[in-house]
Symmetry: C2
């Protein structure tokens, strides 16, 4: 089956965003301009823009035009950090510890990450809320995709904003697998809880705009005062 | 601010689906017909249909038309039952126990459920996989919204299909809050595990097409062989 025309438009725009030719906040060509440039009807261009908006890659502003989404620290935290107060209110955890290291990839990491990397950068962090440690996160990314990441430490609170701004790597979704487990000694120490406390164990694969798995993240969260909130549809 | 025209089209179609005037599988009027009937342009009608498709209430079939989504047992299980094998494969748990009761609503239930019900129907179920109990679920719905539900027991595997077919109540999303906890005595007994085993505790509010909270569900899941999988974007 041939690729429908609106998919050609979508792929073209996605490549421009991924290459940095269309940076965050940039205005896209109008439907008419896009149609003329790519040889498709205005309706086809519109259909592509609507799908790109649905994927949250662009935002259409009534009467002004269409813009590449800016992944602010706020949207990044809101979408990808799922701890909430039990009433649903968002929380703003603080970074209280960070350790960044460069090391060889494990076979499992090489198999899961884009480009089968030999070497990865590991970012270990602890977040706290109201003076209580709530999350221990270990993120692993291919060293080659993120040159100089190791030297940039200490890193900003929201890594995905850094990925976009410094590396044009735009995380668009994350697949998470959750389990209830008991904190082992290292996790208990990092979170300052008793070993054997129940914690939420979250394994994440973060996928970028080019559909590449560019980060693995293992988190352990204390869910006494907060919950992991998710919307299904 | 006035309601934009395409929202009027959306609300009209949603009401028809919710009332049963447009049952699952029914074909919607064409964009031209919708435009003429509701006094809007074809483009406005199309915009509304695209949003309804995004909300998975309708499906557009190339060259045939637009149809009200049929919530099959498969889609219902796939979207709202999140246990997966660690490799991501879907699992098909079996129902091994069910207890249905009619009882007064607790104050918290009356406050959370649509219509502040005095009376609820409670459906308690246990699901198993490969001979091992994996989930204990307690669903609570307003008795008035689901007349005769109590008398229908034993209920089918996927409640949301029954809600749609028998009551025109279409669940479109669910808000879930997850915690890691230790199984207490009743949960341990229902799941045939040792008290103190870590379990995933899930609190759900199920929201229907009219944006009403029509079901509360509390689940406890064993996450030794399976995980709770979710996609964030």
């Amino acid at each position: 089956m041939e690729r429908p025309l609106y998919r050609v438009v979508i792929d073209t725009i996605v490549e421009r965003i991924a290459s940095g030719a269309l940076p965050p906040g940039a205005m896209l060509p109008s439907e008419t301009q896009l149609g003329a440039e790519l040889g498709v009807s205005q309706g086809t261009a519109r259909k592509a823009l609507i799908e790109l908006e649905g994927r949250q890659l662009v935002q259409r502003v009534q009467g002004r035009g269409t813009f590449v989404t800016v992944r602010t620290p706020e949207t990044s935290l809101f979408n990808f950090f799922r701890l909430r107060n039990p009433d649903g209110a968002q929380v703003r955890p603080e970074l209280v510890a960070e350790h960044v290291a460069r090391r060889p990839a494990t076979p499992a990491e090489a198999a899961a990450l884009f480009g089968e990397p030999d070497e990865v950068v590991e970012v270990e962090r602890v977040r706290s809320l109201n003076g209580r440690r709530v999350a221990h996160e270990v993120s692993v990314v291919p060293a080659r995709l993120f040159p100089g990441l190791f030297e940039r430490a200490p890193l900003p609170n929201t890594l995905y904003v850094l990925y976009q701004q410094a590396y044009h790597i735009i995380i668009t979704r994350a697949e998470e697998s959750l389990r209830a487990t008991l904190a082992d000694a290292p996790v208990a120490k990092a979170l300052e809880i008793a070993p054997g406390t129940p914690v939420l164990h979250v394994e994440r694969q973060a996928i970028d705009v080019l559909d590449r798995c560019v980060e693995l993240r293992r988190s352990h969260c204390v869910t006494e005062d907060q919950v992991y909130a998710v919307s299904l549809s």
